[in-house]
C-alpha cells in the first residue's frame, strides 16, 4: 500500500511510447487465453505463442483475449502491432502505477482499472491493474497476473450462454469485465466495514495504543481505496458520454448502472472516513478525560495526605523545648489538628471547583 511511484523514474528521459515494465513482476509466465464466440458457438483456447492470436483479428466472431502477466514486453509489442494498439496505450498497460482512466484512440478504446483484493490475514489491500482494449470485434484484457481473478463467473456465463453476453457486442463484454471488477469492491467494503465496527466496539470497552494504530492503518487503507475508486467515477462518466461507434447506445443504460454502483462505493468510503475520524476523536477525548480523572485523584490524595504528614513532621522534631510534646492531650490534639487541616483544605478546593 505504499505510494506506488516505485521505479517510475527509471523511464525519465525515454521518448514517449517507450515500452518499459514498471511495477512488481507478479507472475512467472505470461498466460493468454482466448474466447472466440458468437450467439451460436464458443471456442475457448489456451495460447502458447502470441502469434496464434492474430487470426482472431479478421474473424467475424467476437473475441476476448485475456493476458495474464505483462512483464514480457515483446509479447505486448506483437499484440499491439497486430491489433493496432496505440504505443501510448501499450506504454500505459506496462506502467502499473496508472490511474484509472479512459482514452479513445478512434479504432480502439483503452480503459484502465484497478482490481482490488484484501490479503487474507491483515486488512491490506492488494492492487492489480487491469487494462481493457475495446475494438470492433475484440476485447483484450491485460492483468498483472496474480493467480485468481474476478472474471470466472463471467467465463461461466460465456460458456453456458447465460444472459445477453454472447448475444451482445464487444462493448457489452467490456462492460461486463468492468462490472465484475466494480462488483468485487463491495466485498472489500463489507470486510472493511466489519473490521471498523469491531474496532469501534473495542474502543468503547477499553483502549490500548494498539487500537489507535489499527484505526490509523484502516484510515490509510480507506484513503488508498478512495484513491483507486474516485477516478473511476469520471472514467465511467466519460465512457457514457463517449461519442464512439464502438459503444452502442443500448449499452449506456448499463454504464449508468455501473456509475451508480461507483457513486455508492464512494459514498460508503466517505462514511468509513467519517467513522474513523469520529473514532479518533472519541479516543482523544477519552484519553484527555482519563488524564483529567488521574489528575484529580492525585490532587485529592495529595490534599488528604500532605497536610497531616507535615503536622506529623512537626511533632517529630527533636527540639528540647517543644511544649506540645509534653501536653497530656498532645497526641489527640495533633490528630485533631491533622483532621481539621485536611478537611478544610478539601472543602476549600472543592468550593473553588478546582478538582
Amino acid at each position: 500500500m505504499k505510494p506506488t511511484t516505485k521505479k517510475r523514474s527509471s523511464k525519465a528521459g525515454l521518448p514517449p511510447g517507450s515500452l518499459v515494465h514498471i511495477g512488481e513482476k507478479k507472475a512467472e509466465e505470461v498466460e493468454i487465453t482466448v474466447f472466440s464466440f458468437n450467439e451460436s458457438g464458443l471456442e475457448e483456447k489456451e495460447i502458447k505463442l502470441v502469434e496464434e492470436c492474430f487470426i482472431y483479428k479478421e474473424k467475424e466472431n467476437k473475441t476476448w483475449i485475456n493476458v495474464e502477466g505483462i512483464h514480457k514486453v515483446d509479447i505486448l509489442e506483437k499484440l499491439g502491432a497486430c491489433f493496432n494498439i496505440h504505443p501510448l496505450a501499450l506504454e500505459d498497460i506496462l506502467n502499473t502505477d496508472q490511474r484509472p482512466k479512459i482514452e479513445d484512440f478512434g479504432d480502439t478504446i483503452y480503459i484502465v482499472l484497478k482490481m482490488l483484493s484484501l490479503s487474507q490475514n491483515s486488512f491490506n489491500i492488494v492492487t492489480e491493474q487491469v487494462s481493457i482494449i475495446l475494438g470492433q470485434n475484440f476485447v483484450i484484457s491485460f492483468q498483472e497476473g496474480i493467480k485468481g481473478d474476478v472474471f470466472n463467473p463471467l467465463r461461466e456465463r460465456l460458456r453456458a450462454n447465460k444472459g445477453k453476453i454472447r448475444k451482445s457486442g464487444t462493448d457489452y463484454l467490456a462492460y461486463s469485465l468492468m462490472d465484475a471488477i466494480v462488483d468485487s469492491y463491495f466485498l472489500i467494503l463489507e470486510r472493511l466495514g466489519e473490521r471498523i465496527e469491531y474496532i469501534e466496539d473495542e474502543l468503547i470497552q477499553k483502549t490500548t495504543s494498539k487500537t489507535i494504530k489499527e484505526i490509523h492503518t484502516l484510515k490509510r487503507e480507506v484513503l488508498f481505496l478512495r484513491k483507486s475508486v474516485w477516478p473511476l467515477r469520471e472514467v465511467i462518466n466519460n465512457l457514457q458520454r463517449e461519442d464512439s461507434n464502438l459503444i452502442n447506445e443500448s449499452i449506456k443504460i448499463y454504464l449508468r448502472d455501473i456509475y451508480d454502483h461507483t457513486i455508492q462505493i464512494i459514498d460508503t468510503i466517505e462514511t468509513f472516513r467519517d467513522m474513523l475520524s469520529g473514532m479518533l476523536e472519541i479516543y482523544l477525548s477519552s484519553t484527555n478525560n482519563r488524564i483529567n480523572e488521574a489528575m484529580r485523584t492525585l490532587t485529592i490524595i495529595a490534599t488528604i495526605f500532605m497536610p497531616p504528614t507535615f503536622i506529623a513532621g512537626i511533632y517529630g522534631m527533636n527540639f528540647k523545648y517543644l511544649p506540645e510534646l509534653d501536653w497530656h492531650w498532645g497526641y489527640p490534639f495533633a490528630l485533631l489538628l491533622m483532621l481539621i487541616t485536611t478537611v478544610s483544605m478539601l472543602v476549600y478546593v472543592k468550593n473553588k471547583k478546582w478538582i
Copy 2:
C-alpha cells in the same frame, strides 16, 4: 445504522438485471393494495394474487399499486413483466442499499427514496427503502414492509377526494408520495434537535464520559441522515428538469416546493453538525481547563507543604550535635523558617506566572 453494504457482495459475478433480494427481510408476507380512481370514483382493494393487478394495466383509471414486502422475487418479476418495468429497475428495487436516485426508462420513470423513522427509545434512525415506478396511468410503490408508513394521510385524501389528488394525473400522485416522505423527515429533525439541545444543556452543567459518547452517537445519526437526504436534492432537481411526457409541466411548481423543503432539511442537518462539533470543542476545552485547574491546585499544595515538611524533617534528625535543637527559641524559629520558605516560594511562583 451500520453501513448498509451487507450481503451486497453475494451478487458479485451475476449478470446485470439478476433479481436477488439484498438486505434484511422485514416482513413475513407480501401485501399488495390497489387504489384505482378517477375524479368521480375510487376502488380500493387488497390483492391476494399478484395476477389480479394486471387488469389495471389497461384501465383508463389511474392506479396506485402499493407493494409492502419485496423479498419474494417472483412477485416482482411478474409485476415487472406486466407493467414493463426495466430489469435494472427491478434489480434496484430488490437492493435495499440503493442510494436515492431517479432513472428515466422512457415509458416509466423509476424513483428510489428512503423512508426514515426513529426507533422509540433510542435515537436510532430506521431506514426503509421506497421505490416508485411512475407510468402513464399507474404508479407502483414498493416498500420493504415495516408495519406503518407515512402514506395514510394520502390514502385518506384519496378516499375523501380532498385536494387535487384525484383530479390530477399519476405524476401528481407520485409527487404526493415523495412529498409525504420528505415531510416525515421534519419530524426526525425535530426530535433530533430536541435531543441535541437537551445534551447541550447537560454539557453546561456537568460532563460525564457518557455525554461524549452520546454526542458521538448523535453525530453519526446526523451523518447517516445526511447521507440519505443529500442525494435527494439532485433527484428532485433532475425530476424538475426531466423532459418526459410522463411529467406534466404544471407539476413542476410542486417539485420546486419539495426541492425547497429538501434544501431546508439539508440546511438544518448542517446546523446540527456544526452544533455537535461545537459541543465537542466545548467538551475538549473544558476538560483541558479542568486538567489545568487540578494541576494548579496540586502545584500550590505541593508548594505549600513540601518545603516545611522538609524543614520538619531536618529537625527530626537524631544527630548528637544539632545546635538548633538545644536553643530555647528553636521551635518557634523552625516554624518561622517554614513560614518564610513557603511564602517566598509561593510569591516566586506567582510572580513567574507559573501557576
Copy 3:
C-alpha cells in the same frame, strides 16, 4: 436561536398548499396598513377589515400593503384570493421556517427574507420573516408582527416624496424594502464585531471558563446569521437574472448594489468566524501552556524537596548503631549531602531538557 423546525411536522400529511401557521405567534392582532401613491399623491390608511384592501387591486396607483401578524389564516386566504397569490406562496408566508428564496409565479413574484435584530441585553439574534409579493401595481409585505420594523425611513421617504420612490414602479418599492432589510444587517454585524473585539481583549488579559462559553455562543450566533444571509446572495442573483416584465431593466443596477452589500456582509461573517476560531485556538494553546508551566513548577519543586527530605528521613531513623549521628560534623555533612543531591538532580534534569 434554536434550530427552527418547531412544529413543522404538524403539517406532515396535509396536501400542498394547506394553510397552517408554523412558528410562534408574535403579535396579538393583525395590523394592515396601505400606502397608495403615484408621483403626485399619497394615501395612507390603516385597514380594519381585510376586504378594504380589495379596491386597490384595480387602482392605477401603486399600492403597498403591509401586513403585520400572519397567524390569522383567513385574512391571508382572502388577500391571496383577491390578489391572485399562489397557494404555495401563501403556504410559505405562513411557514416562518422558510429559507430566503424567490419564486416567480408569472403575474406575481414572491420573495422571502429574514429581518434580524439583536435582543437588547444578550447577543441573541431575533428573526422575523418578511415575505414580499410583487405584482404589477402592488407590493404586499407580510411581517410576523414583532413591534418595530426597519421600514420607517422608507415610509418617511414615501410621505415626503424624497428620492425616486414615488416616481418609480413597484419593483423599485420592492427593492427598497429589501434594501432596508439588508442595510439593517450591518448594525448587527457592527454590534457583534464590537463584542468579538471586547472578548478578544479579555482573552489576552485573563481567561475564565466563562470566556470560552461566550466565544461558543458568539460562534453559534455567527453561524445562525450566516444561515440567514447566505441564501440571500442567490436570491438577489436570481432576481437580477429574472426575465420577468414585473422587473424593469433599469432597476437591475440597484439590485447589483444590494448584491454587493450581501457579499460584503457574507465576507464580514466569514471574517468573524475566522476570528472566533482563532480565539478558540489561542485559548486552547494558552491553556496547554499553563498546564505545561504548572507541570514544570511542580517537577522543579519535587526535584528540590524530595531528595533532601529523604536524606532527612534517613538521619531521623532511630537505629542504635547509626554512626553518622555520633559524628561531630554529622549535621553539616547531612546538609551538604542534601545540597549536593538536589543541585546535581536539578542539573541532570535541566541538561536532559526534561523541564
Copy 4:
C-alpha cells in the same frame, strides 16, 4: 485591522445613492491634482476649486484627475455631476468599507481597489481605498488621503514621457494605476514573509507565550490581506472580459499580466497561511511533548524517592519494641531495603512502559 463595518449602519434607511462619507477622515484638506497630456505635451496643475476641473471634460487631451481626501461630499457631488459619474458609484467612493469590485456604467467604468501599506514598527496593515473612474478621455482617481501613495513612479513616467503611457489611451493609464497598486502588495508580502521566517526560527529555539500571540497576529494580518486581494482576482478577470468600448483590445494582454500577479499574490498568501498553521501545530505538539517530559521526570523522581522515604519513616517511628532498631546491621539493612525497593519499582515501571 478591525472588521471594517464601522458606522456603516449610519446609512440604514437612506435612499440608494445617498452620499455619506463612511470611514475615518484621513486627511484635513482635499487635494486635487490634474495631469492633462497627449503624446506631445503635458500640463500638470494643482487645483484649488473643483470647478477648475470641468474644462478638462471637453478637452481632446487625456486627463488624469487625482483626488486625495474624500470626506467633503460637495466636492464629489460637483465632480460627479460634471463627469457624469453614476450616483451609486459616488456612494461607493464615499464608503470606504467597499470590497474591490468593478462596475460598468456604460460611459464610465468604476473600479475600486485597496491600497495597502505596513505601519512602520508593528506589522499592522493600513488600508486606503482607491476608486478609479475610467471615462473616454479622462481617469479620475479618489484616495482617502493618507500622505504618500504608490503613484509617484507613474507621475515620473508621465512627466518624462517614458514608456507607452502618454502614447496610449486612458485605459492604459487606468491599468497603470492598478498595476502600481498591485505591485505594492509584493513589498508587504516580502516584509510579512521575513517576519514569518524570523518567528519560525524563534519557534525552533524556544517558545514563549509571546510567540503564540505573534503567530496569531500574523495569521489575522494574512487573513485581512487575503480578504483585500481575493476579490481583486475577479475584478481583473471581469475587466478582461468586459465588452466596453472604453477598454481597447490591445490593453487586455496587460490586464492578463496583472491577473497573473494577483494569482501569484494569492498563492503566496495561501503559503503563508499554511506556514502559520504549521507553526501553530509545531507549537502545540512541542508543548504537549514538554508536558510529557516534565510528567515523566516527576514520575521518575517520585518513584525514586517516595519508597525509601517511606522506609526511613518506618525506622523513624518511636515504638518501644521495634526489633530492627536494635540490630547491629539495622542501618545498612534499611539502606539496602531502600535500594532494592526503588530499583525494583523503577524496573517494574520501565517494563510496563508506563514512563
Copy 5:
C-alpha cells in the same frame, strides 16, 4: 524553499515590460547552445556571441536554442528583438518567481515551468525556472543556469535521431522538453516517499521531538512541491485546448499523456499530505497516551506510598503520651494499619475507575 518573493518589490513602479532580473544569480556566464536539425541532418553549436543565433531565425531547419543563465538582460533583449518575443514574455523570463503558466502571443507561445531537484543530503527541493518560447521553426528555452539539467537524454535522442523527435515539428520538441521536466518530478516523489516511509517506521518505534520537526519539514516540502505542480495541470490543459497553428492536432495525444502524468503526480502529492497529517495525528495521540500512562503511574505510586508514610510520620512523633508506642504489638499494628490503608485506597480508586 522560502516563499519566493525576494526582491520582487524592486520592480514596483517600473512600467510593464521593464527587464529586471529577479531572483538569485545562479550562474557566472551565460551559455547558449544551438541544435539546428531536420530529419536528415543535425548541427550542434556552442554560441559565444548572441548575434550568432540570429541566422537561425530564417533557416528552414528546426532550431532549438538553449540559454543557461538569465541574469544578463542585454542578451535577452537582443534575442527577444530578433525572435519577436513579446516584452511581457521577456519580463516574465527574467522574473524567477513566476508561477507555471502559458501565454499565447500569436506568433509565439510562451510556457514557463519549474525544474525541480532535491539537494543531495537534506530533503530540500531546489527550483529552477525554465521558460520555453515556441515559434514556427524554433524553440528557445531559458534556464537559470544551475549546472546539470534533465534535457541530456533528449539531446542524445536528437543526436542519434531516435524516435520522432527529428521528424516532427517544433511543437513536438517543446512537448519533449516539458515531458522531460515532468518526468523528473517522479524521482523527487520517489525519494520523498521513501523518506516519509522511513519516518513512519521510526514513529512506530520511538518518537523524539526531532521526528516531529522532520515531519513538519517534509510537510512544507510537499506543500512547496504542490504549489509548483498544481498550476501545471491548468497549463497543459490550456495547451491542449489552444487553437494555435503552432500546435499540431497530432501532438495533442501526447499532451494528454503528459496531462495524465501531472494528475498522477498531484494524486501522489495529496497522498503524501494525508500520510503526513496522519503521522502528526499518531504523534499527538501517542504523546497524549504517554502523558496518561505517566500520570496514572504517578497516581498509583502516590496512592501506595503517601498513606503509609503519613502513618509512619504519626508514630515518629515525640509526644510523651502516645500510648501505641508502648504497646508490645505496636510496630506490627502500625505496619498492618499501613497495609490496610493503602490497599483500601487502591481498591477505592480502582473502583471509581479514576486510574
